[in-house]
Amino acid sequence: MELLNLSIRELNKLFITKKTKPSELYSEIFNRSASSEAALHAHLSLFEETNLDKAKKSDERFSKSENVGLLDGIPLAIKDNINIKDEKTTCSSKMLSNFVSPYNATVISKLDTEQTIYTGKTNLDEFAMGSSTENSAFGLTRNPWNTDYVPGGSSGGSAASVASRSSIAALGSDTGGSIRQPASFCGLVGFKPTYGSVSRYGLVAFASSLDQIGPISKSVDDARIVYSAISGHDSLDSTSINDEQIELPFEKNATIGIVKELMEDGISEESKKEVEKVIDILKQKGYNIKEVSLPLIKLSISIYYLIAPAECSANLARFDGVRYGLRVDGKTSYEMMEKTRAEGFGDEVKRRILLGTYALSAGYYDEYYGKALRARKKMVDEFSTIFKECDYLISPTTPTEAFKAGEKTNNPLEMYMSDLCTIPANLAGLPAISIPTGLSSNNLPLGVQIMSKPLTDNSLLDFSEMLEKELEFNSTPEGWSK
């Protein structure tokens, strides 16, 4: 039985009918994750011993029919910027290489009540800053579809873990596309929920007005199950929302917008063709399709690369060698801080801190950060107007298929452009999902992104699941599919 390819619902059914046990699944998962490490380096740590105990307790609950829900005994991988109590949270940074979290992130507390098993912590671009997982201080992760290529980022370890069947699903975080882009590069589903619908408490902050935790999974239904478990209001996060979900039309009376600016220059022909394939399916099903224009999307990289670094420079000021993390000695406190931050941060993190410091510095604040904030507000207004006409917006998830390791490391701006399609949803706080649609001529996965207005996460998942069934994308990376 190919347990590792099954969905969460299918596995739960096998546990309930006693055709397999959580401990048997966990043994397979551990063997796979341990054996995939040499080729992929998806994980920074694996929790074998504690997990065997947890899996056996799950066995007992199923044997006594005391199991608690769909995620009982399901092994999930956790991005290493999310705190699990008494485990390391390194953020793939030398700064936090020895940091052991004294508390659980809210998403972990919620998954604990579901009796989920955590396979381990996954690799990421340092402090989630990057699009390829090459910015990790602990070595790059490789794409299971072709190890010459990157898995995307920053949640590249989580995506590689799920794609190589080293976990059933994973948590990532998404500030400018860090869930959706690696999911697309690895042939998976990646879901960034509405901003504020999943607590950020215990997620190491990068850019607080943009960061959001969400699932990476093999199917939309698996993403829905994980999202249902981790979402909800949390008083420990001041940006957490407590609003009811809004239901969107789902069948033929829904209107679909194709974002004109994300089908123009800078988007590969292959990425455009995937969107056209989806349009054809929707037309055949009788949906109303229209081209829509959001002119500010063309400036989203500029807006993002002022707001995100500004917030990053403030958030990462806490790493000063005093309370936690690395310390490099100096004769004075100031010298100690400067040396600690020089030694602890990698190039990309330094680049963004310096850019953010510049954008916030006296004399520049209004013309850089202030202007970016006002442009962001205008972009939010553009989306609000479009969502009066359309229920769902469709675009490519990424301008191209996955790129080769090392291809963009010397050109930061080119690397930033790989998030062109995903950044707008973060700036506007929208729910957005990437679903796999097909393979490129290089046999690498491609995907499309679907966005909808805030608080329509459940409708977006239902609509995406309908498309997923129509697309019938069943390809898996060779060597990891069984």
Binding site: Y103, Y195, V322, Y368
Partner: protein, 96 residues
């Protein structure tokens, strides 16, 4: 948006010491990025900064009630500190 980019001053504000090689490389990288974001300078914006919310859903950030709640213990809060003495963080002197 065309003032000179002074990497030494920005690094000092960010409390990061940089080698001369790093200064040159980062200065070049940042100049390219800043040139790119200049695209915003031509944008006509009628929104006042006072009307801009930090929360993208335009929510006011929630304040917690001012009541005592369980939290980390003192030992837990100090557990990752690089240098501790008698329950306090130890740092080098501020002045030489």
């Amino acid at each position: 948006m065309s003032k000179k980019f002074d990497i030494t001053n920005i690094a000092k504000l960010a409390s990061i010491s940089l080698s001369d090689d790093e200064k040159e490389k980062l200065s070049n990288d940042l100049s390219v990025i800043i040139e790119h974001v200049q695209a915003l300078s031509d944008l006509e914006l009628d929104t006042n900064i006072e009307d801009v919310y930090i929360h993208p859903l335009e929510k006011v950030l929630a304040l917690d009630e001012d009541t005592e709640k369980p939290s980390l213990t003192h030992d837990e809060a100090m557990s990752n500190a690089p240098k501790v003495s008698d329950g306090k963080f130890i740092v080098p002197p501020s002045l030489e």
